[in-house]
């Protein structure tokens, strides 16, 4: 029965895609539920001025990457899609997206980190609209002062933690390298090093260097001290925070709507220094890309450059999506916004999330290592060394 349902759903999807396939003279945009309303408004303007039909199709954000791989080559993909910069490696390797040429004056209007994130070699493959990174999010009723150091943070957290009563001082969602990365970077950990020409070298793996292991040992100590706990996934951590049971967490802009809805007084700040070193965080960038299989590339370029690159649209995307705009004139409007300042402070030492296709193996091996540490199954040094060895073997870098 399940299979029949799945088959029917698949059939419906294919029919649905076939009906709204990209056609010459018509623009098809893939956007997720958060961005669709904004894109619909812009599409209306475009149609009003030029009489060109623009269809905005809602696709689950995480599903866009996979569906493009099948729909694009079949001639049924979109002209414009939204996506995350760390998809770039896979999309380019598969020949699914097209470079976009922006004049230097327009490029200067964007956050340089965001432009860097969407660049591959010397070509730009997407127009960024938002950056996102994690920061320290704290409940100001429970933790009124920003801890000056990570050591102080742990002391405050230990005082707040009472597992029996369901009260927690500080949680990092686990096992999740994206959120734990800060612990590793403070001591000099990294994922992939860069070659002399600035391209990431998948064989220069920094997951088992001294700094990365120091971060793992710190995490292990947090577990032993009863601060960090097993089974604290995204839902559990944000759930506890939104209920007022959690003092501090490492969280991104996406956690704020829930906190607001829960009536929590919160503040966002940089993650405090560990042993005097500022921890780095990952920056993810979202942007607009053009399908390589589009028959309307000039039209799509026009739509992006003349209609999407504007403060109005970028601010609209911020209001819907809560991520700081990558477009500087729009960001300037938000200069007084404390949340954005907090995330910006945390992003001061940020690195773009690696976008090479090899990251798949890193995420899974690294998650496994963190899980073994949090479950107290393996000691942190061995866990990180095993993970690094696994990745090197998978990528053929012995």
């Amino acid at each position: 029965m399940k299979r029949v349902t799945l088959a029917l759903l698949g059939l419906l999807l294919i029919i649905g895609l076939a009906v709204t396939a990209s056609e010459a003279g018509k623009l098809l945009i893939w956007a997720d539920d958060t961005r669709t309303p904004i894109m619909l408004k812009v599409a209306e303007d475009f149609t009003a001025i030029y009489g060109v039909e623009v269809i905005v199709q809602e696709v689950d954000f995480g599903g866009i990457r996979g569906q493009l791989a099948t729909a694009g080559p079949a001639g049924e993909g979109p002209d414009i899609l939204i996506g995350a910069h760390d998809w770039l490696g896979e999309l380019i390797l598969n020949g699914l997206i097209e470079p976009i040429i922006l004049t230097p004056a327009i490029v200067a209007d964007f956050n340089p980190v965001a432009i860097d994130a969407f660049s591959w070699g010397n070509l730009l493959y997407g127009v960024p609209y938002a950056t996102e990174n994690v920061a320290l999010v704290r409940n100001t009723d429970l933790v009124p002062e920003v801890p000056a150091t990570f050591e102080e943070l742990l002391t405050v957290a230990a005082a707040l933690t009472d597992l029996e009563a369901g009260k927690y001082g500080f949680l990092i969602q686990e096992p999740d390298p994206f959120h734990t990365f800060a612990l590793h970077t403070a001591g000099g950990g990294y994922i992939f090093g860069k070659d002399a020409d600035g391209v990431l070298n998948p064989c220069d793996l920094g997951l088992d260097n001294e700094g990365s292991i120091a971060g793992a040992i710190l995490l292990d100590q947090m577990v032993k001290d009863g601060i960090e706990i097993a089974g604290a996934g995204y839902n559990e951590v944000t759930g506890a925070f939104n209920a007022g049971d959690l003092g501090m967490m490492i969280g991104g802009p996406w956690t704020l709507p829930g906190a607001k809805a829960g009536g929590i007084n919160y503040a966002v700040s940089a993650i405090p220094t560990i042993n005097g070193n500022a921890p780095g965080v990952f920056v993810g960038v979202q942007g607009f890309m053009i399908s390589a299989f589009s028959d309307n590339k000039v039209l799509a370029n026009l739509f992006i450059k003349d209609f999407l690159i504007s403060s109005d649209v970028m601010l609209g995307l911020y209001i819907e999506g809560d991520r700081p705009p990558a477009y500087l004139p729009a960001l300037a409007f938000l200069a007084g916004n404390e949340d954005i300042q907090g995330f910006a402070a945390a992003a001061a030492t940020a690195v773009p999330m690696p976008k090479i296709a090899e990251m798949g193996s890193v995420w899974s091996a690294w998650s496994a290592a963190l899980e073994l540490i949090v479950n107290q199954t393996q000691d942190p040094t061995t866990a990180m060394q095993d993970a690094a060895a696994e990745i090197r073997a998978l990528l053929g870098c012995e």
Binding site: K2, A7, A24, G25, I49, Y50, G51, V52, A69, P73, A74, G75, G89, E90, I92, L93, N94, G95, L96, L163, E164, I229, A230, G231, A232, G233, E236, A240, A292, D295, N296, V298, L299, N301, L302, A357, E358, G360, S361, W363, S364, A365, S367, A368, A369, E371, L372, V374, N375, T377, Q378, T382, A383, D386, A389, E390, A393, L394, L395, G396
Partner: protein, 540 residues
């Protein structure tokens, strides 16, 4: 009499006509997309159906054909496609067909020093045909009806009424304003204007530009030559690679023979945990079927007792786990089983407190009884300990699956003649003897195919594993991304999609084929064994 005969055949002709019409429409639709083999399918199908329904000789086939057609489309085709894919390197970097990859690479251009940029004016006649006048570096080119030619500034066909140097009309073509031009941009984009040994293409709203192909392809030698740098890239397993190892993307699918299968055996990265994962997959499927069947049968026998009161109520209550969507319930259970936040551990804490309190009340100054007896029950790692995670999976699957077994057992129990039991009682057989000699053998005969089906389903029960544990917890010291609760299909998923470098669909297809072979073999053996049961039933 006669008009009924005509009416009957009219209906047949009309229905078959509709079918043929629709299939021709679908065929043309697919042909327009260049999908030639899928396009042939509806025509062949419609032709076959028409023949079968019009020929009296093929009468019995009429009842079989619809099922066979669906079997082909939904089962045989996907299996065949998977089988074919397992011999290719399809995956990240090799998603496109060779044609598509070549098209894309050969369409790439670069701007050499002598590239020419043309400003342009576009005109359209009432029929919507486009004429272009390009102007750049002293050249004026007229492009209309697919041909390019030089055109003089004072060509009489160009009419400049207001004298601003930008003609408003070209013979009966009127100049397009920007809002009129934009809807036609995609038509202009498709033009490749060949003029004076140059290829000119649309660059943006304002200009055309000469396009110099970046690559030249030599089909004989299968090499791409970069016109800008002169580097030669040779086709290497579906990707153009230079002598010093630089690759140009996208690559394309090529056949790699049995390499994907060899990797499963030879590559220790992949074959290492294979035996362990296979063992757990087998245990998971077998234990699930055994446990679910045992509990389902027990409850069915209980509910089948005519002297039991509130039978209907119990039946409804027991069917609830089956009636709720499994997808949601697995996630709910995942939350309940969470070590620190889950309700189950929280309830255990409360229970432990109550017991401690009660013991302390009876025997003064005895504390922490439960902790002494059972250890720390407050933090049972349901999902983060390997053995417990496996037990959780089996228990949850039991909860989800036993009502189904109960339902089919209830039905099958009705079909066992009561006279057999009467005869057994007359002969003085005990309840257990009746169960082992009558109930079980007679139940197994009709239910065996369903049990085999349940085994095959659970052998591939990706949904349950992925939603409850994601194959975790991780194995300490593992050399691949395999977890302790990974079954073959979830392990395949990890290998293919989290393995090394993007997706390795070819490898995943190879593992799928292996799983198919394993399940087919097990099913065949099982059917052979249940054939023996039928022998037995004849003797009852």
């Amino acid at each position: 009499m006669i008009w009924r005969f005509v009416a009957k055949h009219m209906a047949k002709v009309v229905l078959l006509g509709t079918l043929v019409g629709v299939s021709i429409y679908v065929c043309v639709f697919l042909l327009a997309k260049g999908m030639y083999i899928p396009a042939a399918m509806p025509l062949i199908g419609a032709g076959l159906i028409s023949y079968i329904f019009l020929s009296e000789k093929r009468y019995p086939l009429r009842w079989l054909v619809p099922g066979l057609l669906f079997l082909t489309v939904m089962v045989v085709y996907p299996i065949g496609y998977t089988f074919v894919s397992s011999f290719t390197n399809v995956g990240t970097g090799h998603m496109l067909g060779k044609e598509q990859a070549l098209d894309q690479l050969l369409d790439r251009s670069y701007a050499p020093e002598n590239a020419i940029t043309y400003s342009f004016l576009a005109f359209a006649n009432p029929a919507g045909d486009i004429a272009l006048v390009l102007e750049g570096e002293g050249e004026r080119i007229l492009y209309t009806q697919g041909t390019a030619s030089a055109i003089a500034v004072d060509d009489p066909r160009l009419v400049d009424e207001d004298g601003d140097g930008r003609p408003e009309r070209f013979s009966n073509y009127a100049r397009l304003s920007i809002p009129q031009l934009v809807p036609r941009l995609s038509d202009l984009e498709a033009y490749r204007i060949e003029y004076d040994n140059k290829i000119i293409g649309l660059q943006d709203l304002n200009e055309f530009r000469t396009r110099t192909p970046l690559y030249v392809y030599d089909a004989e030698a299968e090499t791409m030559t970069d016109q800008q740098t002169g580097v030669v890239y040779a086709a290497m397993e579906g990707i153009f690679t230079s002598a010093d190892g630089v690759e140009i993307y996208p690559g394309y699918k090529v056949s790699v023979g049995i390499r994907n299968y060899l990797a499963l055996i030879r590559n220790p990265q992949i074959s290492g945990p294979f035996a362990m994962v296979f063992g757990w997959t087998f245990a998971f499927a077998t234990l699930t079927v055994l446990l679910n069947f045992a509990l389902g049968l027990s409850t069915a026998i209980l509910l089948n007792d005519p002297f039991l009161r509130f039978r209907t109520l119990y039946r409804v209550l027991m069917i609830i786990p089956y009636a709720l969507p499994a997808f949601i319930m697995i996630l709910v259970w995942r939350g309940m089983l969470n070590q620190h936040f889950g309700i189950i551990n929280k309830m255990l804490v409360s229970a432990a407190h109550m017991i401690d309190y009660a013991v302390n009340y009876v025997a003064v100054n005895v504390f922490h009884t439960t902790a002494v007896l059972f250890g720390d029950v407050t933090k049972i790692p349901w999902l983060s300990n390997g053995m417990l995670a496996k037990a959780s999976l089996l228990l949850l699957n039991l909860w989800l699956g036993y009502p189904y077994m109960m339902l089919i057992c209830l039905g099958a129990l009705q079909s066992i003649p009561a006279s057999l039991y009467e005869a057994a009682r007359v002969d003085g057989a005990s309840w257990w003897q009746q169960f082992w000699k009558i109930t079980l053998p007679l139940l197994l005969m009709p239910l065996a195919p369903l049990l085999i089906g349940a085994f095959a389903f659970n052998f591939n029960n990706f949904t349950l594993i992925w939603l409850l544990t994601e194959g975790r917890p991780a194995i300490a010291g593992a050399t691949t991304p395999a977890g302790q609760t990974d079954i073959l299909i979830s392990y395949t998923y990890r290998l293919a999609f989290e393995g090394a470098r993007g997706n390795q669909l070819g490898l995943a297809a190879a593992v799928s084929v292996m799983i198919f072979v394993v399940i087919a073999t097990i099913s065949a053996i099982n059917f052979r064994l249940t054939g023996a049961l039928e022998e037995l039933s004849k003797n009852v």
